[in-house]
Subunit: 338 residues, 2 copies
């Protein structure tokens, strides 16, 4: 048993699960960004043809999941588990998006780290011998997140420079026990980290310590050096959080600037209106992974990627009661080689 | 690999994880109920000494987890993962209750099925070879649930007979790879089931079809007959849902009345004021399992129990938009024999 564990928080798979299919759907603003060409589907209608933004988010997630299965050439009936969740209260984006799938459902909550958490658990369920074919899916929507966490959109609230823009998008991956890769080879599961940040308009600063904690633990647990990776990406730290992570590593005499990026910085160009510090939301790392990154791995642009989803674990209630913003980061190694 | 899978939705563990420790904390009303003697701790203060009910719920969950580890004789540092979640928006009951634990954290969302989902995933992480010692924890609080899902308590809303009373309580279990039992031997993971119920005051009716679906699948997948169990319990169907499940099985010519009960029926006596159809909430099945049932298994009253957590996957937003209440049920076999 112990041979799958590495250090304090990491595991290595004995038979790395393969990513058999992946897909994403994205909204108008994301479709105007630099990664637009990598998205499977872009919809300029924020309602996705539905009657509410929440129903639109569910429709997006259903579409991403259906496309991922289709691209993998796998029927829904062959998928043995779905791990899914999102930021909406009680994860209704995933529930109503996937409830017709008739697939055994493990609901998860990792805030914006959900894509990484889902891939980690899906890979564990396969390598543990419990399934051959498993999906991980998630979504976010600017309009549902804004009105749930901040203000009604009609209010036109001002946003400080540190604020981020919730990505409208959904991503889904299908993992299989056998396949041609890319493979999930390692997982480092994050602890909750709390540096006392209470500003919900500065999520990047709140999540950066969790990202640093998990990344540095990953390197020491696994013995994989940062330079062994072609690309290291965090989920949605944005400009503020990304620079904090670089600073933390500089204090350890490690320079990550050559190959470390953040999905929140990649999904929009800095010229796009109102994105401020960058993208955020479960959909942020999900669409960058299932669009840009996995297509880039398939084409050989990158062979070894560390995908580190980041999540801010707060609610409007905890914020209104003066609570801090504990955060978590789960890191998953994705490699073209087993 | 395939030898761990049974039928469509079930798995059998090759080395069944052992329940090394379990504990629960409960509130005043639960402490006046028939299972009071089985609870580790009862607090008549709904604030648990904290400044808000949400903080009280977190304090309860922290206490249950700490007690479970202590009763298992296991230090927090030896616990390799926690699987936890709850019904509060963004699972803040678990986040703020467990964030100081410094244990790798997998947030889960299964609504009131969370205790069963957590045990299932914790057992899979151990039997899959990824950990030796893992916790599953959850909580609910009448006052936090009521004001989040229904009305401010000061409003004094009337409750129909089909309504249930959210249990104030938290439960935690510690699973280990080796131990003296009781053991987790099988898991049947539920699909989302939706029969179109939209009445949030009739959760039992909404969840009963999911319970029937998972229980009947469990029996056919595993070949274990209902009469092989000393006790079959659903999570929180209450009187209405419990009778619907019995009716569903009667249509299959199966009489479950001799050994089938529901945690929502067990946690309160029908004479207690306002409990109406019975208890509900993540804490309902959690305190009945970690109080009454596991102590009963330890004393030999029951040797083989099917613990089937039930969850209603809705939010106030989905209800306000006319959405149905999809539900899920995860079943876990707990046995004194491997």
């Amino acid at each position: 048993m112990a041979n799958k564990r590495l250090g304090e928080q990491s595991i290595v798979f004995s038979n790395p699960p393969s990513i058999a299919g992946f897909a994403c759907t994205a909204g108008k603003k994301e479709g105007e960004g630099p990664l637009a060409d990598s998205f499977d589907y872009i919809n300029i209608d924020s309602y996705w043809g539905e009657k509410s933004w929440e129903k639109a988010e569910s429709a997006m997630q259903k579409q991403a999941f259906t496309l991922a299965a289709s691209k993998a050439g796998i029927s829904s009936a062959a998928i043995q588990y779905i791990f899914a969740g999102d930021l909406l209260n009680q994860c209704i984006g995933s529930v109503f998006g996937l409830m017709d799938s008739a697939i055994p459902f493990f609901g998860i909550f990792g805030a914006c780290s959900t894509m990484a958490e889902g891939i980690a658990l899906a890979a564990m369920s396969i390598d543990g011998g419990f399934a051959d074919t498993v999906s991980a899916s998630t979504s976010s929507h600017f309009c549902t997140a804004e009105r749930q966490f901040r203000f009604p959109l009609e209010y036109g609230g001002q946003r400080p420079p540190s604020a981020q823009w919730t990505v409208t998008g959904a991503g889904s991956v299908i993992l299989t026990a056998q396949g041609e890769g890319p493979y999930i080879t390692h997982v480092t599961t994050g602890k909750m980290v709390d540096y006392g940040i209470t500003d919900a308009n500065n999520m990047g600063a709140a999540m950066a310590p969790a990202a640093y904690d998990t990344l540095s633990t990953h390197f020491s647990d696994t013995g994989i050096s940062p330079t062994d990776y072609d690309l290291i990406v965090t989920g949605d730290l944005g400009a503020v959080g990304h620079s904090i992570v670089l600073d933390f590593f500089k204090e350890d005499d490690m320079d990550l600037s050559a190959n470390y990026n953040d999905c929140g910085l990649m999904v929009y160009s800095r010229e796009q209106k109102n994105v401020n510090s960058g993208g955020s939301g479960c959909g942020c790392s999900a669409v960058v992974l299932t669009g840009h990154i996995l297509n880039g791995m398939k084409s050989g642009r990158w062979n070894k990627v560390l995908f580190a989803g980041t999540g801010a674990l707060m609610s409007t209630t905890s914020s209104q009661q003066g609570g801090t913003i504990p955060s978590v980061c789960h890191a998953v190694t994705i490699s073209n080689m087993k």
